[in-house]
């Protein structure tokens, strides 16, 4: 202590004086961190508060709600937000009103309007996961909600409203504890099929309190059996058919599904399925190109961590973090576990290298949930955002680090070689201490810098505006499929700008039981143009565009030779007079 005091005092005085001098000398607002996120929740207009329905019973489902989705539901070019909510649970006092899921329409400039009731998506079931995909290829993304209880499919009517088509479509999945979900085209027929992950066989009837060290705490998943996932095939007529077993999705009985993502990891043109399991080995369902799957998690190297241990896997994202042309995975895990970073070797298997590349200081003590590969500083290398928080809310007296609420994490990618911890210097956006669950990454203000939305359990969400300094360039890319599915889900986009070569895939369903990133974002550092942009449409052809200017939102239509530059300012909101009228009525309230 004495050493600290004696060396610290002169050092501190020196730093203070130098800072004072530099305050005059240097330009004001000089950046300390290449990545800065600003917490703009207070001014965002978002008042929604998440509930897990808890009242002391400590049901396991309370710990795992919920994910969220960011997507442009109304086609105005601005990405909107859908929050999934928990609900009243048996044995608890009835609330005065049932808390719904919420849809917030992006009005630009980080201002959001609650349009839940107008849009008819205010489900009051116990929500866990959400996926977005245009299953009927009408140009408007639809919503699938994975609940504890029957699931829901909301078809987007294209006029700002949705309609519940669950029963017609046949995708309610029964009365299970759901998890993540993803739309994917399993057989390249241009229709989006649907994979629904399920968690554990919890029910109120079999519930018993879980007492550890004299405390009534939330149980882990091992106290229950896993519940098999479901694969639905899109029949192309608005209905789906359960083809789980038919497609080879035959589990070994331990599947406690959590987050999931679909990706073509081996560049063979079909989409494979990566399902995280909580305290069990992960499933990797490899597609044979005809919609038949086999589980290959172990030989592909993604079942376990580097030491061959199964983790309490939570959320997952996919990107080519080292720009070697192969998609990699990152998934989060429980406290006192390192998350897993699976580097795709390009030889048909992955190597788990988190301990080599990812500093664990801010991740290891906490449970990590949502995770997003995002190029926050537009340097051409995807960084990482991780949402943290514990499931237990009554252990804080046990140890200072076991806290229900925890700081989220930002890690900067240093040219694919390692990740650097920036959490403490990355601005006010990292200051909220909440028990975060889902996280979504999208450019909410179309300024070329990807922002973050975090769903916080039992609290308001966090809206984090990316205000990172620097002059790096970027492009946004939206795919419009004509022969392949409408949103280009499963398509690969390769962007070459100077020495940078980046690969992205359009995913439906990612992070922690959520969805984001249908609009692709590429940071291209100092390059002012894209030398080459290649789209390998899912199940179809490959198209190439060259010399596209940077700092634009490019809309690429399958089969159309010209790239269309999308507007990067909000279009007039007159597409739907009905919505406008409703908003006008809603505003004074």
């Amino acid at each position: 202590m004495r050493l600290f005091r004696f060396l610290f005092l002169p050092a501190a005085a020196g730093v203070a004086c130098t800072a004072l001098g530099l305050y005059w000398w240097a330009p004001r607002g000089s950046p300390k961190s290449p990545i800065v996120l600003e917490d703009v929740t207070a001014s965002s207009g978002i008042q929604w508060i998440h509930t897990d329905g808890s009242c002391g019973h400590r049901y396991i489902v309370e710990t795992v709600t919920a994910g969220l989705a960011t997507f442009d539901y109304d086609g105005d070019g601005f990405i909107d937000i859908y929050f999934v909510n928990g609900a009243w649970l048996r044995g608890c006092p009835q609330p005065p009103s049932h808390p719904p899921n919420a849809l917030y329409r992006n009005q630009g400039k980080f201002n959001f309007q609650d349009v839940t009731f107008f849009a008819n998506v205010g489900d009051i079931g116990y929500g866990l996961g959400v996926a977005v995909g245009d299953y009927n290829n009408d140009g408007f993304p639809d919503l699938y909600i994975n609940n504890f209880g029957p699931n829901l499919l909301f078809r987007n009517n294209g006029d700002g409203t949705f309609v519940d088509v669950t029963q017609i479509a046949g995708v309610d999945a029964g009365d299970l504890v759901g998890a993540g979900a993803s739309f994917l085209d399993i057989d390249g027929d241009g229709d989006l099929d649907l994979y629904v992950a399920n968690y554990v066989d919890f029910s109120f009837e079999t519930y018993r309190p879980h007492i550890i060290e004299g405390r009534h705490i939330y149980p882990g998943p091992m106290i229950y059996d896993g519940v098999p996932d479901i694969l639905y095939r899109n029949e192309g007529d608005g209905t789906f058919r359960d083809i789980t077993a038919e497609a080879g999705i035959i589990e070994d009985g331990v599947g406690t599904g959590m987050g999931m993502i679909c990706a073509d990891y081996d560049n063979d043109g079909d989409t494979d399925i990566f399902v995280l399991n909580d305290v069990a080995h992960n499933y990797f369902w490899e597609n044979n190109g005809r919609g038949q799957f086999s589980e290959v998690g172990l030989p592909r190297g993604v079942a376990f961590d580097a030491q061959g241990r199964y983790l309490a896997s939570m959320g997952v994202d996919c990107a080519d973090f080292d720009n070697d042309g192969w998609l990699d995975f990152f998934h989060t895990a429980y406290s006192e576990q390192m998350p897993a970073l699976y580097r795709n070797t390009g030889k048909g298997f992955f190597e788990e290298i988190a301990s080599q590349l990812v500093p664990g200081t801010s991740l290891f003590p906490h449970i990590n949930w949502g995770c997003n590969f995002v190029d926050f500083d537009n340097d051409g290398w995807v960084d990482l955002f991780v949402a943290n928080g514990n499931t237990q809310d009554n252990l804080e007296d046990l140890a200072a680090h076991i806290t229900y609420r925890a700081q989220n994490t930002i890690l900067r990618n240093i040219q694919g070689q390692r990740f650097e911890e920036l959490t403490s210097v990355a601005g006010s956006g990292l200051r909220p201490i909440e028990s975060s669950r889902g996280s979504a990454a999208d450019d909410l203000d179309q300024d070329g810098r990807v922002d973050i939305v975090v769903l916080n359990a039992r609290s308001r969400p966090s809206i984090l505006r990316n205000v990172s300094p620097g002059h790096n360039n970027w492009i946004l890319v939206t795919l419009v499929g004509t022969r392949s599915n409408r949103e280009g889900i499963g398509s690969h986009v390769t962007v070459v700008a100077g020495e940078l070569r980046q690969l992205r895939e359009v995913h439906s369903g990612r992070s922690y039981q959520g969805h984001c990133g249908t609009q692709l974002h590429f940071g291209v550092a100092h390059h002012r143009k894209i030398d080459r942009l290649e789209v390998r449409w899912h199940g179809g052809s490959t198209q190439i565009w060259e010399n596209l200017p940077a700092r634009k939102w490019w809309i690429l239509i399958e089969g159309a030779p010209e790239a269309v530059a999308g507007p990067v300012t909000p279009p007039p909101h007159d597409a739907w007079p009905q919505l406008k009228e409703w908003l006008a009525r809603a505003l004074p309230r």
Partner: protein
């Protein structure tokens, strides 16, 4: 256009015309010079003061900065304050933690035990505060470094973990886990080469420690030494054929080296073993309360406090602790071992035998428990029970000498059926030809009235262990007695013992 990247808070670079918001270049320079001068003056003043107070002499003795961060409850009783707020097991544990510090306020081992109890039953932070206090008071006590290191590891504070565990290792902590966790922390910082060094050191002392070999293999793989990594994975499998993680490591390595068929074979084994492991893990975790494991922890705490009483020369108090431990946890082994020792020390052989019988039930495959129980019954004079336990030991491990040794000793004590004792002793030296066993054979021959054979066996014992004074003396006396015996045929035989 909203897509424009904003800099300087959205402002263009400031100029002197902008209301004097930014000082001119000369003013900036002046500010900087003033700041540097102030810095130099303050630093010089501080150093002068430090020199005066002799600070530099103390630098070397300064330990970890956090050692001075005390916790008010390190020495203060806690049990009463938590009465009614914690369950009865925790309450009893807290009372025990208070007892040790009240009884031995100056004892660091007592504070260490208190730290472990509080860490488990009340607060990890308070427990660690006690352990840090142990380090402050006794910097050469290895165990607290290990436990604090482990705590720092769980917090993701790897550098601190490394510092504490290096200290524990430097102080020769007998726990293999210390180096393993140290290596893991180094690995998590990407310092795999250092981890390899740490584990290699440990391997020299513990070549059959599977954890050391596994982590060594893992770290070697990380630094690209695949051949040696493979060797160590195989060694883990030799030691623990069911270790699915080692099979996974081997499979991944084979895959990485392009040996696909081999990799597939190992993956198949791994999958099978992992399925069994997961089922067992799930079964173990499928409990709605941990009353049982909490009871075990409390029994361990009582056992540790019993050891403290022994160190302080109070064996009867120690026995009370172990009895309570045995009462709380019907399956606690360590407290029963101590209790048996205590009763043996008190020559209360029947009680010792009863405790050892409980151990036999808890660990039915442990030959040593059966042999010890037989020995205790023999000492208690219950030869039939003693024989039953020795025979059970022989049945359990027919190729080990222990049970037969008991039977021979029993025969020598009772003097009945000594010829069988000779046969058994011959079998023993065939199984394990050690000096002890030849000595036993010599005694059996002598008891059977065969001094020549006894002499030969005793000479063999003395050859095998030439340093043994006991054997030499026995041999000398045996020779003397044998000479007398041969010289006065038909005279009374006398014992060399």
């Amino acid at each position: 256009m909203s897509g424009a990247v904003e800099t300087n808070g959205g402002k263009t670079p400031a100029t002197s015309s902008e209301g004097g918001k930014v000082l001119s270049a000369s003013n900036r320079l002046r500010g900087l010079i003033i700041a540097l001068l102030v810095l130099m003056l303050i630093t010089a003043g501080e150093y002068l003061y430090m020199w005066q107070v002799g600070f530099f002499r103390q630098i070397e003795t300064e330990a970890e900065p956090e050692l001075s961060q005390g916790h008010p409850d390190v020495y203060r009783p806690v049990a009463d304050r938590y009465r009614g707020k914690v369950n009865p097991i925790q309450q009893e544990a807290l009372a025990l933690a208070d007892l040790v510090i009240a009884k031995w306020p100056e004892s660091v081992p007592a504070l260490f035990i208190r730290g472990l109890i509080l860490n488990k039953f009340l607060s990890r932070d308070l427990g660690v505060a006690c352990l840090l206090e142990c380090i402050r008071r006794a910097p050469h006590f290895a165990e607290p470094y290990y436990w604090v290191g482990l705590d720092r590891f769980k917090r993701g504070e790897y550098e601190k973990t490394i510092n504490f565990l290096r200290q524990a290792v430097a102080l020769n902590i007998p726990l293999a886990d210390a180096r393993v966790v140290l290596a893991e922390a180094l690995g998590l910082l990407g310092r795999h080469n250092e981890a390899v060094l740490v584990l290699r050191e440990q391997l020299e002392q513990m070549p059959d420690h599977p954890g050391t070999r596994f982590y060594l293999a893992h770290n070697l793989e990380r630094v690209g030494q695949f051949t040696e990594a493979e060797h160590h994975y195989r060694q883990v499998i030799r030691l623990q054929p069911d270790n699915y993680q080692a099979w996974h490591g081997l499979a991944m390595l084979a895959q990485r080296l392009g040996r696909k068929a081999e990799a597939e074979e190992y993956f198949a084994i791994c999958r099978k073993l992992q399925t069994t492991f997961h089922a067992g893990h799930q079964e173990a975790r499928r409990r709605y309360d941990d009353h049982e494991s909490l009871s075990t922890s409390l029994a361990t705490a009582y056992t540790d406090v019993g050891k403290l009483f022994i160190e302080q020369g109070e064996p009867d108090e120690a026995a009370k602790m172990w009895l309570r431990a045995a009462e709380i946890d019907k399956e606690h082994r360590e407290c029963r071992l101590f209790l048996a020792d205590y009763y043996a020390f008190r020559r209360e052989w029947a009680k010792a035998a009863q405790v050892l019988e409980e151990l036999c039930q808890l660990e039915p495959n442990q030959v040593k428990h059966r042999v010890n129980t037989g020995a205790a019954w023999m000492a208690a004079g219950d030869y039939s029970k003693a024989r039953a336990f020795f025979e059970a030991a022989c049945d359990l491990a027919p190729n080990r000498a222990d049970g037969y040794v008991g039977l021979v000793e029993l025969t020598l004590v009772t003097g009945k059926d000594v010829n069988t004792a000779v046969d058994l002793a011959q079998r023993i030296v065939k199984l394990e030809p050690t000096a002890d066993h030849y000595f036993l054979l010599a005694r059996a021959y002598w008891a059977a009235g065969d001094p020549e054979q006894a002499l030969q066996a005793a000479e063999r014992a003395a050859v095998l262990d030439p340093g043994s004074r006991q054997y030499k003396e026995f041999l000398t006396r045996l020779k003397t007695v044998a000479a007398k015996h041969l010289g006065s045929e038909g005279g009374e035989s006398s014992s060399p013992e």
